[in-house]
Symmetry: C2
Subunit: 731 residues, 2 copies
């Protein structure tokens, strides 16, 4: 299971003797008394040492002044890196970086704990730019902080083919970017997932005196994120869970693309967040109020039982004399003239992309400091490992993403004699078998646990006061659920989140699922009631086009197992695909265990489950998926009784079949056999590729109906008789 | 354009001499002094007339007592109709109807203005059961109120094949149901749309002394709806718009499917709604506090500048001695034993589905009262029409959905010499041409008006104080936007809402779009930036699988026009399809006007735009859509220069092409010509059906990239050269 890429992720963890250069283990970075640390705290440190108030004051005042100057310069550097990159690309969003540079500076230079030379250091603070269009803020900060992923040439190739600096933050392109944002609201929900992961792992692994999991999750979200429903869903959960180490900055700049937010957004965000159970702080001057930002973060950290929203009122495009505070600076380059005017206005004499030497020097300490932080943590971990061998081994596997050899043997096995069951129930058997071998499996349902069959019976609920448990209760918040799972999956390689609802309600969470696919987040989507077989709830609850819609989506596996063996196979595939999410479409209704199904077959996507032909020349091939594979098999039995040679193929995952060799594909679906009939209780869209122009796809190309499932199957013509008739018409 | 079915919708409007039996024009139904009216208000009326306090008190007390008894009996009738229907179906949700019967009774029996014999009477109050799973509440109320759509036999065939009482409320099945709900949160957003429509039309058409548009919109939503992000989006807008005639009841029963809401939902809903700008009232005893419910509604009506949330604390499954207040009563039949126990507990001696005579009698007044209300309104309308001829004609067309003959001539026309433009800009030309002929066109964008090009230049913004305007500013709330548009479209047949965002963000609103399709709501989805042609914003913003995903969805038209003429054609089709929503995929990038495109062609879905072959035997057929049709045409030019006979087909809408005759299809895509190449900047999923197994579909089967559009097209192989190469390989 282990891939070599994971080793590098966790290399620091396993380094033999960590250097120990940091002089303090104080949790708060501001108080670290290493060179170049924030002047405010340096002054505090000096005061302690010197003891003479007069001297202290003079020294402190000078230090503060000097510090203030370099902070201001650093903030302007961030602004101009953004301005210059957008200008050069003639595309992008300068407004947010210009307005948020102060909070960005304070976070990355004074508050956050990270190691720029190992962006994957496990215990780093996480930062999510939920307002992803402002990504030049993040790229500029990574650049200043010393991340190798964003060099000057990367900044100057912003938004260009093959660059490390795409138009929105993409975790798979740029080390240092935690998650993929841009579609609004996703990022803050990801941040909730990251904070959940921290709280959960801390509860499971920390021991008295050994706070081995201990980091904050920071996010910046804008007005757009605030308007999106997904953000409210995720933030309601964050409040419910009491995620005290989640600190979100709301860039309150009153401007969105269409103009002043007054045209569409006049709610009281403060009041809403108080209602959601958050601690809310308002920094009225986010443009220059550095100390207010610092104080707000300090206050946020002091509130440990609630997440904090720091509303920071800023001016979008701060510094631009003619475009600041207007929508024109939101999503377009300033233009050469306005760039000049802004340079003058902010007193910035430098060439594009220039980082002044004193700013460079100021930030340069983050490389040794980051290494020291990681080394310090490694030493702590070594201590921990001595005392808590088993927990340390577990945690190591979560950090590396490596599973114990033969883990898949834990999956349940079935024979045709096993009692028939719905694949949603069989799925629960798999889920409950896996935690023994997979310490990182956790998840839950959007208020349908008892229908989706997703409870892990050996665990309680992940709640505010029981964060060590693994059943996550998402409430009726599908979209938030998906994005929270993306955050969990991207927290560390060994965490395997699953989430569940009725298959039709993937429509509510599709944007998050697409980001799972794009950002290579291994989320397992347990989607039950996967067809008209759902019955009485009717067409609002019956998926039709959903299988097709996910088959068309890149980098996501759509799996529709037919019985217990295939369900186990689907879980094996889902877990093995570390960089792909999987959607499991599962039945509400009971199904038999079919002879011929196999886990190896599932891994190939499409395979023969029965055949009475020889020489790869059946008269007819019947193809089914999920609950309809049984129908195909029954039709084959009848046809064989009449002397036909019939092959039955399970087509459990189109994507996996597509990845097989041509020879294998030919062995399953020989080109010479054009007599093919497929049956699937969903849209026939796309099936022409499998059955060919002479074949027949039996499916449902209209909305469903409210009635008992058997009745609907019959009325919609999804029957053994229909398959036999279509087969006979073709051979 | 007029279909016969619309005439019936508007029949009452056009009835020549409306009867006038109601003795008062008082807006508040409670105060109507017709027989059988609520005892409380009757007492008030009596008091006015009699003048002797002693007599009044005695009469009133007796009336109140009698009234209270029949109210209680009516409420229990509602409860048992729900219990019995769910029991008979052995499927459904008895808990909500049992808990919400009191508020349901007060609404339908005492407050709402409707005409049961004409469910489409224009000025009726609208009611939306957002918690659609509790639909037996609504069916029971419609039944008692005298709607012909829900007879006793309909109640007893609840959730059965072909019944009028499906498992969730469906407007297209059951007259009296306004919108289709069940997927949580959709209903309250629909209600916002209905209330928006009322406010807008009232502002446009009401004149001093002529309140011709004047109704309330009521909704019931549960905990599930409250958790969904879409509800927060829509309610934030409702607060922003000050929709004072929207009154939503929040069934606060503390139970959802997975158990007590405490496991996932501990926010303060009151505080959140106050933050959203709503007036909030709490009825603490929703089980028996009829007067509290009445008082709350009165208070809600008195607050005219804000929508009102009435939080009604109820007991789910009220009356069931062993299952009330538990999740077991949420979504399952009570079971025979518990039904018996509930009958005993509530003192209900009747057979299943029995409506006691006094309850029947009590409700029977709604038929004459409803007729009187409509007649009264018709008379008012006749007065109005005399004074305001033009406005009345407009409003009539909105009510009937009839357009002026030849309306489509208003659409702009183009020639190959017209300056090339992006189809998003061309779309704006269409949108701005249409209001002259379509008084019901209104809409907007989710904060991308200036990118989607959706502003109607002759109008201002629909806002709290300018509700007569037609540019709706939805903010970054795609999901709420779609569902609000469903509400607008289903308010009356002539309203044509459009809404817009980037095509990729249909993922955020897909659940609402599916309900447009299912509920036959003509919403026009203006989806720009429809491919990798979007460029620098990168893969989070570039749709790939979206065309395929909508082609697979039933009853929705996916249109991808290639130039100005096709864009105009797409609008014509979208508007003509009264019972289907349309999705218009539009380019960001500039495109030429192609010779050969036509509106008639668009109406056929696929058609020949150029051909140098004869006898329906081209050597090769090139097929393109939208921005790639130009590439196909250019490739054809090159191939023709080399002497090939080449046909170019525009495949603007697969669904429309599918509906053509076999002969027509053969005339465009002759079966004998297997040399076919398609090009489309999206997933090739499904294209096999069009190009066949010997053809080649050129597309994009992976995620996009951040770079200038031209570069991405080239890198991804979407070029004239690639089409030529594929064509040559096949002929």
């Amino acid at each position: 299971m282990a891939s070599s890429s994971n080793l590098s992720l966790s290399k620091s963890l396993f380094s033999p003797s960590p250097p120990k250069s940091a002089t303090t283990q104080n949790r708060d970075r501001i108080a670290l008394s290493v060179p170049g640390v924030s002047a405010t705290s340096r002054a505090v440190a000096l005061r302690r040492r010197v003891g003479s108030l007069t001297t202290v004051r003079a020294v402190a005042a000078e230090a503060v002044e000097k510090k203030d100057a370099v902070v201001e310069k650093s903030v302007n550097t961030i602004r101009f890196l953004a301005i210059d990159a957008v200008e050069k690309a003639n595309s992008g969003h300068p407004g947010l970086p210009m307005g948020c540079a102060p909070m960005g500076h304070v976070l990355f230079d004074e508050v956050m704990r990270y190691n720029p030379k190992n962006p994957y250091w496990f215990n780093r603070d996480r930062f999510v730019l939920s307002a992803g269009h402002g990504c030049m803020l993040h790229y500029a900060l990574l650049h200043l902080a010393g991340y190798d992923s964003v060099k000057e040439e990367d900044l100057s190739s912003f938004r260009q083919w093959g660059s490390k600096t795409p138009g929105h933050p993409e975790n798979f392109e740029t080390p240092g970017i935690e998650v993929t944002t841009g579609p609004l609201g996703q990022g803050i929900a990801n941040a909730v997932g990251l904070a959940l992961a921290e709280k959960h792992l801390a509860a499971r692994y920390n021991k008295p005196g050994h706070e081995i999991v201990d980091h904050y999750t920071y996010a910046i979200l804008g007005d757009g994120c605030q308007m999106e429903g997904i953000a409210n869903e995720a933030c309601s959960l964050a409040g419910h869970w009491g995620l005290g180490k989640l600190i979100a900055f709301y860039d309150d700049n009153h401007i969105s693309i269409d103009g002043d937010t007054d045209i569409a957004f006049t709610e009281s965000v403060d009041k809403r967040f108080e209602g959601l159970g958050w601690h809310v702080i308002w920094v009225k001057n986010g443009n220059t109020g550095y100390d207010d930002i610092r104080a707000a973060i300090k206050e946020a950290k002091s509130v440990t039982d609630k997440p904090t929203l720091i509303k920071v009122t800023t001016t979008i495009g701060f510094g631009s004399p003619n475009k600041a505070n207007s929508y024109s600076v939101h999503g377009s380059a300033l233009g050469a003239k306005e760039v000049d005017a802004t340079r003058k206005n902010l007193g910035w004499p430098y060439e594009p992309f220039h980082v002044p030497e004193d700013v460079k020097k100021h930030w340069s300490r983050h490389t040794p400091e980051g290494a020291a932080l990681e080394a310090e943590w490694n030493a702590k971990f070594a201590e921990y490992e001595k005392k808590y061998k088993e927990e340390a081994a577990d945690l190591k596997s979560l950090i590396s993403g490596e599973f114990p050899a033969g883990w898949e043997k834990a999956l349940p096995t079935y024979t045709p004699q096993s009692p028939g069951d719905s694949t949603r129930n069989l799925s629960q058997q798999c889920l409950n078998a896996l935690p023994k071998v997979l310490p990182g499996l956790l998840g839950g349902s959007a208020d349908l646990a008892s229908s989706n069959m997703t409870l892990l019976k050996m665990f309680g609920d992940f709640q505010k006061d029981t964060p060590e448990e693994r059943n996550v209760r998402f409430g009726v918040r599908e979209h938030g659920m998906g994005a929270i799972c993306n955050g969990i999956a991207l927290h560390c390689p060994g965490l395997i989140p699953y989430c569940a609802t009725f298959f039709v309600f993937t429509d509510y969470m599709r944007a998050a699922m697409r980001i799972s696919a794009l950002s290579e987040a291994r989320v397992i989507y347990v989607m039950t009631h996967d067809s008209i077989g759902l019955g009485e709830d009717g067409p609002t609850h019956q998926p039709i086009e959903h299988l097709a819609s996910f088959r068309a989506m890149p980098n996501i596996l759509m799996l529709r197992p037919a019985d217990g063996t295939e369900t186990a196979g689907a879980y094996k595939v889902a877990i093995m695909n570390r960089k792909r999410p999987s959607v499991l479409a599962l039945s509400r209704q009971k199904l038999p265990h079919l002879p011929g199904t196999s886990i190896e077959g599932v891994e190939k996507g499409g395979y023969i489950i029965s055949d009475n032909s020889s020489g790869n020349k059946p008269e007819i091939i019947l193809i089914g998926t999920g609950s309809e594979l049984e129908i195909a098999e029954k039709a084959a039995d009848e046809l064989r009784k009449e002397g036909k040679t019939v092959r039955v193929v399970s087509f459990v995952s189109w994507e996996l079949f597509d990845e097989q060799t041509d020879a294998y594909k030919e062995s399953v679906l020989p080109a010479a056999v054009s007599a093919r009939v497929s049956i699937e209780a969903g849209s026939t869209f796309g099936w022409e590729k499998i059955v060919g122009s002479k074949g027949k796809a039996i499916g449902v190309d209209h909305f469903g109906a409210s009635a008992p499932a058997d009745k609907i199957y019959k009325e919609f013509g999804l029957t053994v008789e229909a398959v036999i008739e279509a087969a006979k018409a073709r051979c």
